[in-house]
Symmetry: C2
Subunit: 140 residues, 2 copies
């Protein structure tokens, strides 16, 4: 079982502390009555998805002896206008830069992450339609 504690501080600021001992500050934007001192919880969800899948992908690419020099993901999410809102569509773009990167290796790593390993993706994928794309940038 995974546990975390989330504590209210002031205005709409909360501090989450996870089992691992790491803390994260969450807040609402000024427009929603917060002070914008930290990530919005819904943004954290998208970042958690990227981090989760990214760890899988970089691990698999290492096992496949790929020489990755840069790796980033862009995650975007759509929500409906009306309550109750949940993410309906989430897109994740993987951008892998390196030397002689095999597109097939990237494709396989991404598929393994999204279809098997990524816990956050498996969870939110039951609510939202997750689509993905990838871009390989070859360094000379």
């Amino acid at each position: 079982m995974m546990k975390s504690k989330i504590r209210f501080t002031e205005d709409l600021q909360f501090v989450g502390v996870a089992d691992s001992g790491h803390a994260v500050i969450m807040d609402a934007p000024l427009s929603a009555g917060g002070q914008n001192t930290g990530s919005k919880p819904s943004e954290l969800l998208l970042m958690a998805f990227g981090g989760c899948s990214g760890m899988d992908v970089i691990s698999i690419l290492r096992k496949k002896k790929q020489d990755v020099t840069n790796f980033e993901m862009n995650v975007s999410g759509e929500t409906p206008e009306k309550y109750p809102k949940s993410f309906t569509d989430i897109h994740i773009e993987y951008v892998v830069t390196g030397k002689n990167i095999s597109e097939e290796a990237v494709k396989h790593a991404v598929e393994l992450s999204l279809e098997k390993y990524c816990l956050v993706g498996a969870t939110i994928g039951k609510a939202a339609k997750i689509t993905h794309s990838y871009k390989v940038i070859q360094e000379s």
Copy 2:
């Protein structure tokens, strides 16, 4: 549409940056090949849920003129042993401390958040069974 960028740094460390401009460090524990420099993505998901629902609850309790002096949540999540894993059960406990706090107000605020307002809860609630409880501590 909500967007965020997640960038690989080294080992299994990733830095997420959200639309709001706030960053979060994610990492894997030492046991999983990471350096434990930041929250695990799955922990972030649980913290995001607590922050999301907490913002709703504190906002509603303020509208109900409740004198809250302390507020925290404990969120725990269960995952299956086998891949693909997704959270199957998530429990959130709300602990509200204050003077003459109405239990009815807390109950109503929690229900409004979980049934209507909380985007993260609505999203993960399609994968996991979310249960909740609350505790009111009256200060003299």
